[in-house]
């Protein structure tokens, strides 16, 4: 659709512009391989979480519990690892334990997703409320499990995921690219994906066209949950620890990334490619600001401003299109 095309174009232009801007402000600190590499390590967490938020928003919903789910997943993985292995255990057998722990974490995140799906699809609770409730409850479970403490000390096999690289490419980026790829395939190449888009725009018409709305919503939130779990793996691996309240400021960023990337707040529209570009832009701004010595909190404030500015621009574009459409 014309709108989607131009959005991608606009984002590409913005990306190049930001790159030049950051380069201008910080010189070679920004434009070097080391910096890009470190960006490549940081972006994936946010990226995978943004994908989790995106799929919920496409169905005209929202998932406020992605961070809490990620934290719980991370804690489950961490508990398994720290209770069965010692920190410097590098033997081959640990890989299996790590794999099983990760699987357990993903199952937990999928279960939270299923709970969300049940509340939203079966009980018909509005997504804001349902995910708000699960967010509080899941976060509470995390607190109980950790008693407020940080759980740390993972084996090298685990740490490699967040900090290692494959042929010079950071592993987290590979994970993110894989996740983005899978999401893109789901959305563009499967019946489920088409149904997600259509449901976001008009669930009633979908119902009358034979779409099983419940199943679609259920799957949407389970996928959203699983992606939160994957983000958890990257997160706890990078920090070598798991905690009940990591990354709470990410929630705003995932919404911002999605909206900037072209996801409509009303549902039904948005592509992974747009999200990808917007993440790159946000990451560049973040790195640039960091290099300029601007505090994290100010950066957060800036995100808020950027989000509003993007929505305002969207508003004006919509307005123009509406004016042309009236006949």
């Amino acid at each position: 659709m014309l709108r989607k095309f131009s959005h991608f174009l606009v984002l590409s232009v913005v990306m190049v512009f930001i790159m030049l801007l950051m380069w201008g402000f910080t010189g070679n600190d920004f434009m070097n391989l080391g910096n890009f590499q470190s960006m490549a390590y940081q972006m994936p967490e946010l990226g995978v979480l943004s994908l989790a938020m995106m799929i919920a928003m496409l169905t005209s919903g929202i998932n406020l519990s992605i961070i809490a789910t990620a934290n719980l997943s991370g804690i489950v993985i961490a508990l398994i690892l720290t209770n069965t292995l010692s920190a410097d255990n590098g033997s081959a057998g640990t890989i299996w334990v790590v794999a099983l722990a990760i699987l357990a974490g993903l199952i937990v995140s999928a279960l939270v997703g299923a709970l969300n799906g049940f509340l939203i699809a079966v009980l018909d609770i509005s997504p804001i409320l349902a995910t708000l409730g699960t967010m509080i409850m899941v976060s509470g479970i995390s607190i109980v499990l950790t008693e407020g403490y940080v759980i740390s000390g993972f084996p090298p096999a685990m740490l490699a995921i967040g900090n290692g690289d494959l042929l010079g490419i950071p592993v987290p980026i590979l994970v993110f690219l894989a996740c983005a790829g899978v999401m893109s395939v789901i959305l563009n190449n499967t019946p489920l994906g088409t149904r997600i888009y259509l449901l976001g725009s008009n669930p009633v018409a979908c119902f009358y066209s034979g779409v099983d709305n419940r199943a679609v919503l259920f799957r949407t939130y389970i996928i959203s949950g699983i992606y939160s779990g994957v983000a958890a793996v990257i997160m706890i691996s990078r920090f070598n620890s798991a905690k009940a309240d990591y990354g709470e400021s990410y929630l705003l960023l995932t919404v911002l990334a999605a909206v900037l990337g072209g996801v409509s707040a009303a549902g039904g529209f948005g592509k992974v490619s747009g999200l990808f570009l917007s993440l790159v832009i946000l990451q560049m701004i973040s790195s640039g600001l960091n290099l300029m010595g601007i505090s994290n909190f100010l950066t957060l404030a800036l995100w808020g401003i950027v989000l509003i500015v993007v929505m305002v621009i969207n508003y004006f574009i919509e307005n123009q299109q509406q004016k042309r459409r009236i006949a």
Partner: protein
Amino acid sequence: MKRLLTRHETYVFLAIVAFSIVITVINPSFFTLENLFDLLKSYSLMGTFAIGMLFVLISGGIDISFTAIATITGYTIAVLLLKYGESLNIVSVFLIAGGIGILLGLFNAAIIYFFKIPSIITTIATLNIYYGILTVVSKGKWLYGFPTWFGDFNNIRVFTLYTPDGIPYGLSIITVIWFALILIGWFILRYTILGRSIYAMGGNPASAQRAGFNLLGLNLFVYSFMGLMAGIGSVIQALLVQTVAPNSLVGKEMDVIAAVVLGGASLTGGTGSMLGTILGVTLIAIMGNGLTLMHVSSLWYKVIIGFVILVSVGVSAYRNKRSTRKHIITEVN
């Protein structure tokens, strides 16, 4: 009688009664005047926020930036108290905090109304803007050491009783302030055109526009009212703990929303009552207090609250579904 059973507030009330009974059985010190007055005082903060949130929810929106607004207003009056403490009085402190809160709320309203940005997204953004700027300006410092009159005000009681050990307790003035706010809020919602217009707008914004309601004015009002409550709340917080910290409120948005939703307000707008909100806050207060008195580890607090919210919302949604089904059948007849 039948009408009573269909109302959401009835069920919340029953839940409160049930919980109270259970808690008192396990720990009789729950149902003492001393404990109850204490609860009323400490939950005045959440109660004040809840009044503002109720208005916003009825209008069909949501506001999660109020904790950041409260943090800003709190910090401002704290700085002023430390600098000019002796030349201020409690009224001017409330006015300043309220005034700033109103301004910040107006900003929210303007963005939401003029650019048609969903309120959840707008207030997520302003939450971060307000909080981010404040943290940088405040450098994360905790402020304390307020003038003695400020501390004394906290201890004022409308009437005082004494425990067997000679410890005084009673109905705190802060609770009275909260009650006054409740009355004002209730009056506006029930007896003013403004209040009914807010319900109308929440029920069907398009109809409201067609009928000539002043949507801009209504939006400006609800969000600045929320800002006002946030400002007043920040003063209450400062009075209660005699310190102002930049990070004490942010993160607690959901608890307030949960209390108001528990009381029957709907996120889609048009529904909600002051009575329900009070009951919702009371329920949360009792659960919190009860868990402590029953010696349940505070670690479980969030899990239980979250669970109660989900159950309450689930039951609400289920009851809604059944009633709409009946409606369709009678229409066909």
